[in-house]
Symmetry: C2
Subunit: 205 residues, 2 copies
């Protein structure tokens, strides 16, 4: 069945083309300023064609959100090679924050935007696998730290969620423009300081 095989491949290729066009438009002009018509125009297909490959716009956003998780996941994976759990925890924080700031539009899709989660709800998916897997990188490491005698008296799950909240909060405030006017200082300086504070806290608890 060489023909059906080729057809499947073609279908995947156009799907990937749509996603690539969507992604590049997001990076250029932002998610909110990109329409289905814009995407169709860029790949020189009609808007209706998009709907032969995706159920709706939310599915496109969800698919890109998943792409983002694969990229973040591979970066986090590398850090799992660090044997000392506390050092690894710090490295995970660094990687997470760097990823978010270097790919803010993707991070937005992954952790802030409503659309990808609305897609999950429509699919009646109760689970958010991408999020769970990423969280497990963190919670496994926190658990190791506790097993090694650190973070005494802390519940591993709760502490993991708190740490996640902390790094997410920083980048989310910056991405959604809530740092302006908080200080006169260079936002870069603000950020470095906050992250240093975070590291210092990890050392003290």
């Amino acid at each position: 069945m060489g023909i059906t095989e080729r057809k499947v491949k073609e279908k995947q290729e156009l799907k990937a083309l749509i996603l690539a066009a969507a992604r590049s438009l997001f990076l250029e002009r932002g998610i909110g300023e990109t329409s289905i018509r814009n995407i169709a125009e860029r790949i020189e297909y009609s808007p209706a064609t998009i709907y032969l490959y995706f159920k709706d716009k939310d599915e496109i956003l969800h698919e890109l959100h998943s792409q983002g998780f694969r990229e973040l996941g591979s970066r986090l994976s590398v850090m799992m090679a660090v044997s000392d759990p506390v050092a690894r925890l710090k490295a995970l924080g660094r990687v997470y924050v760097d990823f978010a700031r270097q790919n803010s539009e993707m991070y937005d899709l992954m952790f802030i935007a409503r659309a990808p989660m609305q897609f999950l709800e429509k699919m009646e998916e109760e689970k958010w696998d991408e999020g769970r897997v990423a969280f497990e990188f963190l919670s496994a490491t926190v658990a190791e730290c506790i097993a090694a005698g650190r973070f005494a008296g802390h519940d591993p799950f709760s502490l993991s969620f708190m740490i996640w909240s902390c790094v997410h909060g920083m980048v989310a405030l910056e991405i959604r423009d809530r740092c302006k006017g908080i200080t006169c200082e260079n936002p870069e300086t603000v950020f470095r300081g906050a992250f240093e504070s975070f590291i210092k806290v990890l050392e003290e608890i």
Copy 2:
């Protein structure tokens, strides 16, 4: 000039009516699902009338965002009566998180949504006064803690930003549905645990 005076009052009243309608629609159906036409319909005016009172939709969202800050500000003010700065810091965190979870749509507008900040940019306002004032409640208290010998070696500004990030992160993750699937547990339990972790960290650093 009794007439012009009355006219000014009427203008303010209709403006307030529009804002009240917008706010109640947001609470009922969400920000994203509320249109100018919905608001106009609710107060039984034409959509075009809205534009005699507000420059655009973003101005409405910005005005509601400011309302939210007045409400949060008054809650935070009450806590400034707590004399012990560390106890006050914990109280501020509690108030902040409770406000966010009890008024999630308003919190979204204040700290997550793009629209209110886009309005500021259009107005060429470099400053975000509401945010700065709220942040000062926190940073003043952190500075007092440091003056009282706590949080040794921490930069007050950086630590304040980190604490803010931490509480913002928690509520932002919940409001934008990133807690689902992270755990099987009741989200309420997750949250209480994370906040306890946060308090415990404040005690340890």
